[in-house]
Symmetry: C2
Subunit: 347 residues, 2 copies
């Protein structure tokens, strides 16, 4: 009974792909040198850099960033959590976020939380588990538990599209209260005296509406019952919601002369329905949107709306994260980017 000379070494899968070790062998250098050429070529002599680059070229090697991330504890991924992608007002923000991050070598991973409190917990597990170097919250993280988990993860976090007195970490947004108030005051100046709201049911919209209603009451633009008529639609707001809203509001309150919509899309629906009902905008009814989406200026009548600079928010959020990750002290990691009331023809 002879013992096996070559004991069956337990072997592993390895999927056969090219690795950095293969490249090192081809180039005739140590693996770490290949790693350096990839990550900090200035630390390697020009001739070795050339050799290694040739070897990479010849072999078609693509570094496994998963392995790199595990070893370095930098994933170079940023997670963006948003309620929904389709019909969302956050797209400009996500777009510029992606662009700015790509420029710095970061990739975006997307998490859709849904507007309902659905699988928020699973989502967080999936995201935190991937160890992103940063997280951008577009809109929401309602559950206190969710917020706690994010903070516990110690991952740099930027909240956007809002201004809260108690940010979890970094923040770039604007005051929804100020928007609501500004719109009410604008409508007052324009001579409107009986204002209303059509709004999606998300929390930020509610806060805008509250401030709007308060200002309206203060300015005596409310109805005989002391209330500001409102119509709520489900989030995200749609043109169909705007149409239904206008019809409902006019039925219950035929004398309203201005409507503040929770998004430009909702406003589009209002304009359509007004046209169908033969209601003159802005003559009889003023319409104000929110967002200043690309199409707002190209409606008829051109939409008066609140411009929110989504691209700026995305870019600032990206910078906050990049700086924080780089260890740069971010002086003022809370930023109010404000808003602008863009007066066009609909109000």
């Amino acid at each position: 009974m002879n013992a096996p000379l070559d004991p069956p070494k337990r072997t592993r899968r390895s999927k056969g792909g090219l690795t950095l070790v293969d490249v090192a062998r081809v180039a005739g250098v140590a693996p770490i040198t290949v790693s350096r050429v990839l990550n900090s070529p200035e630390k390697v002599s020009p001739d070795l850099v050339q050799k290694v680059r040739d070897a990479i070229e010849r072999t078609g090697y693509v570094p496994n960033l998963l392995a790199g991330s595990l070893a370095s504890t930098h994933s170079r991924m940023i997670a963006a959590i948003l309620p929904t992608i389709a019909g969302s007002v956050f797209l400009d923000t996500i777009q510029s976020l992606t662009e700015t991050l790509a420029g710095a070598g970061y990739q975006l991973i997307l998490g859709q939380a849904g507007y309902e409190n659905s699988r928020e917990d699973e989502l967080l597990e999936a995201i935190i588990g991937r160890r992103p170097d940063g997280i951008v919250l577009a809109g929401i993280m309602r559950s206190a538990q969710g917020r706690r988990r994010l903070q516990a993860s110690a991952i740099p976090l930027v909240e956007t599209w809002d201004l809260t007195p108690t940010p979890a970490d970094m923040l770039v947004g604007f005051s929804h209260e100020e928007v609501g108030q500004a719109v009410a005051e604008f409508l007052y100046q324009r001579g409107r005296r009986r204002v209303a709201v059509i709004s999606a049911s998300d929390e930020r919209a509610q806060r805008r509406n509250r401030a709007y209603a308060q200002a309206a009451v203060r300015l005596d633009m409310h109805g005989p019952d002391g209330q500001v008529p409102f119509h709520t639609i489900s989030a995200p707001g749609t043109a169909a919601g705007g149409r239904a809203g206008l019809r409902a509001l006019l039925t219950a309150h035929p004398d309203i002369d201005a409507i503040f919509c929770s998004s430009d899309m909702v406003a589009l629906g209002v304009l359509t329905e007004a046209r169908i009902m033969g209601i003159d905008v802005p003559g009889r009814l003023a319409v104000v949107g929110l967002g200043d989406q690309a199409f707002a200026a190209d409606l008829y009548p051109a939409l008066t709306t609140v411009r929110i600079d989504g691209r700026a928010m995305g870019e600032i959020a990206a910078r906050f994260l990049i700086d924080r990750i780089a260890g740069v002290h971010v002086a003022e990691a809370v930023r109010d980017i404000g808003f602008t009331l863009v007066e066009r023809d609909s109000a």
Copy 2:
């Protein structure tokens, strides 16, 4: 000179986070048992499962999926490559893709290729380097080199929003040629005799337009010069582009009676400009969009358009990938989901 009893072991960062080993210690089991509880609890006795789950709960442990991916060569990530996020027609597709994938435990990573042939190569490197289990292409991968790299990576791939005779791998889309032809024939049936196009400059739109123009010529709906007037705008198409397009077309060809737009957004702009110019739609001018976006039915006049079921494409793409990854033989990995001409009031 006493040698240190405890020689300064070269230590490593480790970021201090909780690991599976910590959980195993707390639960009093081997690390592999914790792993099994996480990934295949049915292989572990109920009491140990309970013990481990308690330990996870108590410690707040979140598994490091990066490490898991490296060890298992399954990243549970899918990459979506699209030209741009803002103003894109692919959003419904991405949305349902994300939802379907999330249900199966996959996360989406996003790659914006841009409409210009910009950093396509870097993007591919960043994406393939993350070893996604699958890739979805929304729209494009123009460069032959890019397509070659994708195929070389051997990552399951689904192309969407198109039908090509030579798919790189799997495919779900519709025939842009058929759309162009169908729209031309529809306009003919509606009595139009002098048709035009306003289109973004992307390649799929061009193919629609070519088929549209051919059918128009065949049906004698062209101009005196035998041509179909067209106006090209940059991708992605916008309402502003539609407005400019209508003005330009009417200046050069005052007698056109129908316009096929490369997206509903472009059509919106056309409707706006027509209204401003006092042109009756559909009386004097028929307008047809593409996409049947949510707002299309809520324009005035309600937009006649080509419905593309973006959600279905996302879901099918997800299923293709999930099945392929699971090793299921995907019977027919090329799917034509077709389209529907939705007749409303604008044509």
